[in-house]
Amino acid sequence: MDTNKTFIKLENVSYMYDPEEHPDVKAIDGVSLTVNEGEFLAIVGPNGSGKSTLSKLFNGLLTPTEGDVWVYDINTKDDDHITDIRRNVAMVFQNPDNQMVATIVEDDVAFGAENLGIEPAEIRKRIDESLEAVSMSAYAQRKLHQLSGGQKQRIAIAGVLAMKPRCIIFDESTAMLDPAGREDIIEIMHQLNREGVTIVFITHYMEEITDVDRIVILEKGKVIAEGVPIDIFNQVNMLHRARLDTPEIVWLCSLLRKGGLDIPAETLTGEQLVEALCRLK
C-alpha cells in the first residue's frame, strides 16, 4: 500500500463510553485501520457492533480512550486543529431530521460553509453547486420539513458538500429511507467517489455494498474481516457468525453451486448471475 495515499489512520484504537465504571465494556476494541485517499470503504456490522462509535472517531467527534486516530498528520485529540479535520472529513448522519439546523433548504446547506467563515458570495456559489450535485436545485427555497426522507438526506449531503470535504462518512445514512431514496443516496455516493471524494459508508445492508472497493466487518468492537467484496461475501460462515445477511444473489449462487452448477465466485449482482447462467449452456 502506498503510504502517501493513507488518509485516515487508526492505530490500535479502543473506545470506552465509561472507562471508570466499566473499563471492560469496550465499544471499540483495539482497531487498527486505514482509509486510503479516493477509496470507497464500507464498514458493516450487526447492531451494537460499534460501527457508529467508530465513525465518530474518524473526525474527532469522539476521541479514542486508547490509541490514536490520525487524519493526514493531525491527531484527532489535537483540539486546535479539529476544524481542519472536520472540514475535510465530513459526516452525514442517520436521521435526516436531527441534522438540519435551518427551516429553509438553502439556509441549511449554507450552515457548514458559514461556520468556516467563507465569504457570502462564495457560499452562494457553493450552495448552487452542491444542490446541483444532488439534483435538488429546484428546492433551494423550500421548507425542509415538507421534503421526503430521501430528499432531506440529499440536502444533508449538499450541506456537507458546501464545505468541500475530501472525505464523507455516511453513518447509516440510508437506514431510515425507503428503497427508492436509498438507491438515490447510494448513487450519489458513487458519483462523488468518481469525482475523487473518499467515501466511508457505514451500514448493515449487505446488498448496498456489492460494488465498493473494500469492506471491513466489525463485530463486538473488533475488525473480524477485511477485504474486497468477492472475498468477504464468499465467507458465508463468517458472515453468519457475525449475524449479517449474505446478499440474496450471493446466497442464491451458493445454493446453485451446491446444486452442481458452475457459478464463478465473483458473481455478486443479478446481472452477473444472469450472464453466468447464460454462459452455462
Partner: protein, 268 residues
C-alpha cells in the same frame, strides 16, 4: 393543537413587508406592543387595529392564516376576560347571586381582550413575513446593541432558530405519539379537566425523551459541520437597511404617534 401556532411559521409571499429588514420589523413590532399598553380608550384600540389591518393587507398573507394563530390563545383569552370581568371590584352594574360585574371590570376585560388580540396578531404577522434565519439574525444584531445581553447574543439567537426549526418536527412527533397511545386504548377526550391533563403525561414523557435525543444528535451534527459559535462565522444573507426600511420606520413612528394621540380624545 400545536399545528395552530402560527407564531414562528414563515409564510412566503413577495410583499413589501417580506422585503423589509428583519430589524425594522422586530423593532416596529416591539414598539407597537409597548404602545398597546399605553392605549387608554377605545379610539386607541381602533387606531392600533386599523394600523395592523393595513399591515396585514400589505403582507398579502391570507387573513385566515394570521387569525389561525389566535385559536391557540382563545382559552387564555377567555380566562383572563372572565377573571377581569367578574373579579374586579368597583361599581356593580349587574349581579346574580355571588356573581357580579362591575363597570371597571367590564372596561378592564375589554382592554385586556383587545390588547391580547392585537399583540398576538401583530407578533404572528411579524414572524409570518420574516423567514427564520433573518428573524434570528435580526434579533442577534439587536441584542448586540444591548449591554449584558451582548455576550450571549449569538447563542440566544441560535437557540431561537433551532427551536423554531423544530416546531413542525415535534408537532408531527406529538401527533404520532398520540396515535400510538390511542391505539393502545389511551383516552384523551373524556373526563374532567384534571383527568385530561393526567392523560397528557403518556404523551409528554416520550415527547421529552425524544426531544432530548434529537438535541444530542443535533449537537453532534452541528459539531461535525464545524460549528464553533459566533467566532469566525460568516452569513449567507447579511442584513442591510434599504430605503424602504427608512420609509417604514417613518410610517411606524407616525402611526405610533397617532395611537398616542388618541389618549387625548375623550372616551365614549
Amino acid at each position: 393543537m400545536i399545528k395552530d401556532i402560527t407564531i414562528g411559521q414563515y409564510y412566503p409571499t413577495d410583499s413589501v413587508l417580506h422585503r423589509l429588514d428583519a430589524r425594522t420589523k422586530l423593532l416596529s413590532t416591539l414598539a407597537y406592543i409597548i404602545f398597546l399598553f399605553l392605549v387608554k380608550n377605545v379610539w386607541g384600540y381602533l387606531a392600533a387595529f386599523v394600523f395592523l389591518a393595513v399591515c396585514m393587507i400589505l403582507s398579502k398573507i391570507p387573513i385566515g392564516y394570521v387569525l389561525r394563530g389566535l385559536k391557540a390563545v382563545v382559552f387564555i383569552l377567555c380566562l383572563t376576560v372572565l377573571i377581569n370581568l367578574f373579579f374586579t371590584p368597583g361599581d356593580v352594574i349587574w349581579s346574580y347571586g355571588v356573581m357580579k360585574i362591575t363597570e371597571q371590570g367590564a372596561r378592564m376585560a375589554f382592554n385586556v381582550a383587545f390588547r391580547l388580540l392585537l399583540l398576538i396578531s401583530a407578533t404572528s404577522l411579524m414572524t409570518l413575513c420574516t423567514d427564520t434565519i433573518s428573524l434570528t439574525d435580526g434579533m442577534e444584531e439587536l441584542m448586540r446593541k444591548v449591554p449584558l445581553v451582548r455576550r450571549y447574543a449569538h447563542e440566544l439567537s441560535m437557540m431561537m432558530s433551532i427551536a423554531l426549526r423544530f416546531i413542525p418536527t415535534l408537532s408531527d412527533e406529538t401527533e404520532r405519539i398520540m396515535k400510538a397511545q390511542k391505539s393502545r386504548g389511551a383516552d384523551f377526550e373524556s373526563g374532567n379537566i384534571i383527568r385530561r391533563a393526567k392523560a397528557l403525561i403518556p404523551i409528554l414523557v416520550p415527547l421529552f425523551v425524544s426531544a432530548f435525543q434529537r438535541a444530542s444528535e443535533l449537537a453532534m451534527a452541528m459539531e461535525a459541520r464545524c460549528y464553533r459559535g459566533a467566532e469566525g462565522r460568516t452569513r449567507l444573507k447579511e442584513l442591510h437597511y434599504s430605503k424602504a426600511d427608512i420609509v417604514a420606520y417613518c410610517i411606524v413612528i407616525l402611526a405610533l404617534a397617532g395611537i398616542w394621540a388618541t389618549r387625548y380624545i375623550p372616551a365614549p
